[in-house]
């Protein structure tokens, strides 16, 4: 049995350059089983790049990404996905030419982990994110929040051991935000481990037990959410960023 303190995901020395720019610079952090870790930082600080490195969209120049006890750094995305790393995208991506049901089936069909679990069903996953009875509805007809829900259902279909959310709550109105926060909390209550990039402070405070803060590709803070959000270095990084001023 895995103890609750065993890290599900451990990132060490992760580095990625784009030409002269070091977008992710010697990053390290861990996500433990059943916790939600916030990945924060001003615009352009390298959060999405970090997610892309973990999920295999980008190849790291250096560093380790250890999932369970396997170093997956540099693996092709499809293998990482099959190992149980699921994600959503900063700019929501659904398969618009397909039904909602097929969007979820896409997450189920190519993955041994998902397919052997007979209790995972398309309708169950749709209902799980609040899209019950949407199975045969074209994905292109969905509203913005429902597209976000569908994308989440597709990620959950992978039966993830860790879920990477890239600003999943961005762009929701205040009442939708409450729904979204409740949905993510319910995933955590089921024991899912989550790494979430987020700017919405209310969501971070109510969901994340720990936060890692990036600035210019580097980790500038890592600790319990309250402590991190009071950290002068973090406050300065945010206030110093002209986009947020």
């Amino acid at each position: 049995m895995m103890s609750s303190s065993a890290p599900i995901l451990k990132v060490e020395g992760l580095t990625r350059r784009f030409g002269g720019l070091v977008a992710v610079n010697d990053m390290g952090f861990t996500v433990h089983a059943g916790e939600i870790v916030g990945l924060l930082g001003p615009n352009g600080s390298g959060k999405t790049t970090a997610i892309n490195l973990i999920s295999g969209v980008l190849q790291p120049d250096a560093g380790r990404v250890v999932l369970g006890d396997t170093d997956i750094a540099g693996w092709p995305t499809f293998k990482i996905a099959r190992l149980g790393v699921a994600r959503t995208f900063q700019l929501v991506r659904v398969l618009d030419g397909m039904t909602c049901g097929d969007n979820v089936r896409a997450g189920l069909a190519f993955n041994q982990r998902a397919r052997i679990e007979s209790d995972v069903s398309v309708d169950g996953l749709l209902a799980r994110v609040g899209l019950a009875d949407h199975n045969s509805r074209p994905a292109s007809e969905l509203t913005y929040i429902d597209r976000k829900r569908l994308e989440l259902a597709r990620a959950l279909a992978l039966r993830p051991s860790v879920l990477l959310l890239d600003e999943w709550l961005a762009g929701l109105n205040p009442s939708e935000l409450q729904i979204g926060i409740a949905l993510i909390r319910s995933l955590k209550d089921e024991g899912l481990s989550i790494l979430m990039v987020e700017h919405v402070m209310a969501a971070i405070r109510s969901l994340c037990s720990r936060c890692v803060v990036m600035s210019s590709g580097r980790r500038i803070a890592d600790g319990p959410t309250d402590t991190v959000l009071r950290d002068p270095a973090v406050i300065e990084a945010y206030l110093g960023a002209p986009e947020h001023a």
Binding site: S55, G56, V57, P76, T77, F78, A81, R82, A86, R87, F89, R93, L95, D96, G97, M98, D102, R105, A106, G107, A109, F110, N111, R154, A155, L158
Partner: protein, 314 residues
């Protein structure tokens, strides 16, 4: 099995049986036309197998067709016919696997240009080999294969290509390709081995093209690279598949049949301007029917359903 599926099955069987007796009913001219129709139907359908779901435009059709034809020119008299076809299929699949693995990482436009260049490259390789090694410019094909034999082989191949397309569309591979066509990044994140899926389909499609070339070869008694590797075929196949609509297995055939007849008519009536007219036809198709005949049919159906729903609703 539902009633409508049984009906479709019965109609298809009757159609195949009907087509099979055509050679004994028609004259040589119409038999030749039938062969051309089958040739383009298979080529366009095979093209659509790969390009429909992936939306890659391949101009490599003639490369594989030519490889098939040349295999027959070289080995036709050495080996029994089924073995010749097998060798052609193997060469076609190896060639396409190499091409696929090296090019399918390319983005759309680069892929089009590469496949176009590929046909020329293969042709020049054959020319070089023939001139420097075998020291012949062309080859004679004297095989005991009649026009009727060609027709029947192509008919069988057409049945197979439709069956394979039908099976793929219902398989996990087909589902993977639809997802890849929608969003490759999402496909990877769903655990799909995108490269494998694309190469697999590219190879399957290429094997059919190679076999068409091989089966057609005995039709010419004399063959040389410029005959076997004719770039026009690649373009015609793209036009046909786009007219029909490549996102359904039976779509390309709906383009191949009328366009083969049209090209045949044009080149007989206006031998000097037929290429020009073909170009205009191509432009019109892309402009007026972006999703092909299939798209048009689906739109009409949707419209009917929509108005029926409105009618019953009020």
């Amino acid at each position: 099995m539902s009633v409508s599926q049984l009906l479709i099955g019965a109609v298809s069987l009757a159609a195949i049986a009907g087509l099979a007796v055509v050679p004994s009913l028609v004259d040589a001219y119409h038999l030749a036309l039938g062969i051309t129709l089958l040739q383009f139907t298979i080529l366009a359908t095979a093209w659509g197998l790969f390009s429909g779901p992936t939306r890659y435009v391949s101009l490599a059709t003639t490369a594989f067709f030519g490889v098939g034809a040349y295999t027959v020119a070289v080995l036709g008299e050495q080996l029994p016919w089924p073995l010749v076809l097998t060798v052609a299929a193997v060469i076609g699949s190896v060639t396409s696997a190499i091409v696929g693995l090296s090019t399918l990482r390319l983005s759309g436009v680069h892929f089009v240009i590469f496949t176009f260049g590929l046909a020329e490259l293969v042709k020049q390789l054959v020319v070089w080999f023939e001139v420097n090694k075998s020291r012949v410019l062309g080859r004679y094909i004297f095989l005991d294969i009649t026009q009727q034999d060609i027709y029947w082989q192509l008919l069988a191949l057409a049945v197979i290509v439709f069956a394979v397309g039908w099976l793929i569309a219902r398989s996990r591979l087909g589902f993977a390709l639809r997802i890849i066509g929608e969003d490759e990044t999402v496909a990877r994140h769903c655990g799909i081995n995108v490269t494998f899926a694309k190469v697999a389909l590219f190879v399957i499609s290429a094997v059919f093209m190679t076999l068409v070339g091989a089966i057609m070869a005995p039709r010419w008694t004399y063959i040389e690279p410029s005959i076997a590797f004719n770039a026009t075929i690649s373009f015609e196949v793209v036009i046909m598949a786009l007219l029909g609509g490549a996102h359904r297995v039976w779509g390309p055939a709906l383009g191949a049949i009328p366009l083969t007849l049209l090209f045949e008519f044009l080149s007989a009536r206006f031998p000097n301007t037929s290429t020009l007219i073909m170009g205009v036809v191509f432009l019109l198709i892309v402009y007026a029917l972006p999703s092909g005949v299939v798209g048009l049919i689906e739109k009409i159906r949707q419209f009917r359903r929509g108005s029926a729903a409105q009618g019953s609703g009020t």
